[in-house]
């Protein structure tokens, strides 16, 4: 991947080739008629990766740990479920509404939550996450309470679309998830590599410093929060039609923590991390069948070891490896100032510590 003695800054242009190639290759998978089970695992990975991308916008880019994301995932899922089942809307209308609702609730949460600082912010959002789960669990009339919502139908036209391509419905879901994931990655990449995104990175590096550099920290955090919760709702809406059944349990903190694990394994603040981490850990979970309910006997210590010894996840290890490789190739060539600076995406992120301590 490290083409022609690469200058720093080639990152995104490499990404511009690799990401589309990856998605096109992935789109061809249904042609080889894989088992429905394998496709379903693929869809699950993509849905949870999307949620991880949402969390990444906050934790990876902005440096804040919100713990209500499963709640927003739930709001997205239940909005789609309720609007399609009880109001009779089409999924294609309900889905964007769910995303917008999540952004709105995210805005309201941010207005209150960003008044608290640091650790209190995380704990406060955790409380909000629990409230969302409890409301979903108790509001029988709307959400079906403990019984959940049953029989959310696949999106209109998806089956016909699959048939037209000579594929099964599971392949249709797979392609829908793939497009959704591609949209998510594109949105997150654009948000990150922009003047807005650089300001988020500045906030991650130190709020006071960002403020004195003239950044309106509060509004930037609010927008990051809205983007982050909207993505969570986007993933949730897809989950609703894919699984067809909704229960309150999935909207609780355990889901948030599991996605946090995916994100940490892959690498905070990177573009590839959420997908890589989710793919690895989710597949691992599938092989730990016997431990299904007890997977945290393995994952718990894994979380601890990750933050202690590899806080940048796999992406961090990769960056370190790449740095070592490029250090071996003579001195870097002189660089022209017009080279795009913000386009060296995956150079190990989240090295916020230095600034914080300074």
């Amino acid at each position: 991947m490290n083409v022609n003695g690469a200058k720093r800054g080639k990152g995104l242009s490499v990404g511009r080739v690799i990401w589309p190639a990856l998605f096109i290759l992935a789109a061809l998978v249904p042609l080889f008629s894989p088992s429905g089970y394998a496709l379903d695992i693929g869809v699950n990975i993509m849905i949870w990766a999307m949620l991880a991308y949402g969390l990444n916008v906050m934790l990876g880019f902005t440096g804040l740990l919100p713990l209500a994301h499963a709640g927003f995932f739930g709001i997205g899922a239940y909005t789609v479920g309720i609007l399609t089942l009880k109001v009779g809307w089409s999924f294609w209308l309900a889905w964007p509404v769910a995303v917008a609702l999540c952004a709105l609730v995210g805005l309201l949460l941010g207005l209150v939550a960003f008044r608290t600082k640091g650790d209190a912010f995380s704990i406060f959002t955790l409380g909000v996450g629990v409230i969302i789960m409890l409301v979903i669990n108790k509001w029988d009339a709307l959400t079906g309470g403990n019984d959940g919502l049953n029989g959310v139908m696949p999106p209109a036209g998806l089956e016909a679309f699959s048939k037209a391509l000579g594929l099964k419905l599971s392949s249709g879901f797979y392609l829908l998830a793939l497009v959704s994931l591609a949209v998510t990655v594109l949105v997150v990449a654009r948000a990150r590599y922009s003047t807005f995104g650089l300001s988020l990175i500045a906030i991650r590096g130190g709020e006071d410093l960002a403020r004195s550099a003239g950044i309106n920290v509060f509004t930037h955090k609010l927008r990051a929060m809205m983007l982050s919760t909207a993505i969570a709702g986007f993933a949730g809406g897809l989950y609703a039609v894919f699984v067809g059944f909704l229960g309150a349990a999935v909207t609780g903190p355990t889901t948030t923590f599991t996605v946090l694990l995916y994100l940490l394994v892959g690498g905070l603040g990177t573009l590839a991390g959420p997908l890589v981490g989710t793919a690895i850990i989710y597949s691992l979970t599938q092989t730990l069948k016997g431990l299904e309910d007890y997977q945290y006997i393995v994952f718990g210590p894994m979380l601890v070891l990750l933050v202690m010894f590899a806080p940048h996840g796999l992406a961090g290890l990769w960056a370190r490896l790449r740095a070592r490789l490029s250090a071996r190739r003579a001195a870097p060539p002189a660089q022209t100032p017009d080279q795009t600076p913000d386009q060296s995406p995956d150079q190990s992120p989240d090295q916020t510590k230095e600034v914080n301590r300074a």
């Binding site: 654009r190 650089l198 130190g206 550099a213 100032p337």
Partner: protein, 273 residues
């Protein structure tokens, strides 16, 4: 350019800054000095909107900015640097400077997602603004290095570039020469003179009296949060209240084991003047 009137702030019953009335004239270098704990940094934090004063007012270019938030103060044209080399060490030098330029750009999240014309314009604008600021501090060639890889002095310059790229009228430097050797200090003084020659107004807090005496057009002396003297370097160093304050705090500081070389250098400076 900047006028403060009866400015004060209390922390838990203690007056960190009290009844300070002073002005920073346009196009000059104003130094704010005083013994340790005199409230110099607090004074800067008040001006830059980090702290909200409990009394008094701040006017900048005729506008009352007393209650503005930090980013609003920056957008009015007041930028600052910090005592320590507070920059984004893991980002490139250019990115640091671009962050400083953010206050002059308007593209938001939607612009970013839709790659609007405004976004593209702002990206270009930040880059140009940043390069310009880096050129002014002599770092254009290092634009793509990680800021943390630079020397202590280089990092100080990055901090100044970050402040400059917000296109300020007034630059506040908090102990710019801390941790620098004499040669670097001389370079820094040359840089500050250049900036002022280019039309910038500078206010600085500094312990190194050689720098203050050699650079400042005017000096404001704070002691226990209050202004005890104001004037040219020559006037201030002859002022009995100033000498008293430094000697007194020196004796006191000695007991606490906090004697700073700066205190001694003022004594010398005073004797020379």
């Amino acid at each position: 350019m900047l006028d403060v009137q009866d400015l004060g702030i209390r922390f838990g019953g203690l007056d960190a800054v009290k009844d300070v009335t002073a002005s920073i004239p346009t196009g000059q270098i104003t130094a704010i000095i005083g013994p340790n704990g005199a409230g110099k940094s607090t004074f800067f934090n008040l001006i830059s909107g980090f702290y909200q004063p409990t009394s008094g007012s701040i006017r900048f270019a005729g506008e009352d900015i007393t209650r503005l938030k930090t980013h609003e103060v920056v957008s009015r044209g007041i930028a600052r640097t910090f005592q320590t080399t507070t920059i984004y060490r893991e980002l490139s030098v250019l990115e640091n400077a671009m962050i400083g330029h953010r206050v002059r750009t308007r593209a938001g999240l939607l612009d970013a997602l839709l790659r609007t014309g405004r976004e593209r314009q702002d990206v270009q604008g930040s880059r140009d603004g940043a390069i310009q600021a880096l050129t002014r501090v002599g770092l254009a060639a290092q634009a793509h290095l990680p800021a943390g890889a630079l020397t202590q002095e280089g990092q100080k310059r990055v901090g100044i570039a970050m402040a400059l790229s917000s296109d300020p009228k007034l630059l506040l430097l908090d102990e710019p020469a801390a941790g620098m050797n004499p040669e670097e200090t001389v370079n820094l003084m040359a840089l500050i003179r250049e900036l002022v020659a280019g039309g910038l107004t500078v206010a600085l807090v500094e312990h190194k009296m050689s720098l203050v005496m050699g650079l400042a057009d005017r000096i404001v002396v704070l002691h226990h949060g209050q202004k005890i003297a104001q004037g040219t370097p020559a006037q201030v160093s002859r002022d009995p209240a100033v000498i008293e304050a430094y000697l007194g705090s020196h004796a006191h500081g000695g007991q606490m084991g906090q004697t700073t070389p700066a205190d001694l250098t003022l004594d010398k400076g005073g004797a020379h003047a």
